[in-house]
Symmetry: C2
Subunit: 115 residues, 2 copies
DNA sequence: ATACATATGTAGGCACTCTACTTATAGCTT
DNA sequence: AAGCTATAAGTAGAGTGCCTACATATGTAT
């Protein structure tokens, strides 16, 4: 998968991972890898700024802690974050249906548009 | 659907429309609307530059003509364009499977990642 | 005459992800 | 002891690509 592909959908992916419970950035990156079967290997330079952005937008709240001598910032979904996640899921469903419909070869598209 | 959503997937959508046969820019925009059931209403400032970009990349070839007093640039899929379309379809299938897998709520994800 | 549909395009802005780099601790290997 | 890898968080700067807004022109309908 080309590196840029998640553009515009990263927020939803992060929110979805955090739905299972609070996690820190590094763990979020690993969860994204696991859940995607290894296809998603996002660089820290992508994820950490995204987390700060989501926190600024009040979709996440973050708190510092020290675990085994290492600084961690643990993020938790806020109520608006949960709401935003629902919205992202709805948007994704619509979007993927649209792209499926347009991308489908002529043979499979009987002059009807979206089914 | 938010305006920006097609980012990174527009090339594939245009290529797919052109698979049915040559079309000019304005007709491509209309075809995109029709095939998407009205969800895709792309501004000319998005589509025309994309067409020029795809032509520069030799995925399309364009020719001028005059129809009913109006200038048209008609675009045709090249051989590499057809090849690129196949690649875009494959990429889309992988990408949408990945996003589906990550976005799916915990209840539907039995600790397995991609099915 | 005025408006709308058809048709193509440019300029500038903006948001988001990427690459590359920096900093720091813990644990393991050589 | 030195070096490497994993863990952990970040910044700086670049590039891409879609958007808004604007400019231009012809044909058709009101």
């Amino acid at each position: 998968m080309r590196p840029d592909a998640v553009r515009g959908h990263l927020d939803g992916l992060i929110l979805a991972v955090l739905e299972d419970g609070p996690r820190h950035g590094y763990a979020i990156i690993e969860a994204l890898q696991t859940r995607s079967g290894g296809a998603l290997d996002l660089p820290t330079g992508t994820v950490y700024p995204a987390l700060r952005r989501l926190e600024r937008a009040a979709l996440l709240s973050g708190t510092w802690s020290t675990v085994a001598g290492r600084e961690r910032r643990t993020y938790t979904l806020t109520r608006s974050g949960r709401h935003a996640l629902a919205g992202q899921r709805a948007e994704w469903n619509e979007f993927s249906a649209v792209v499926d419909a347009v991308l489908r070869p002529a043979a499979g598209r009987p002059a009807g548009g979206l089914s």
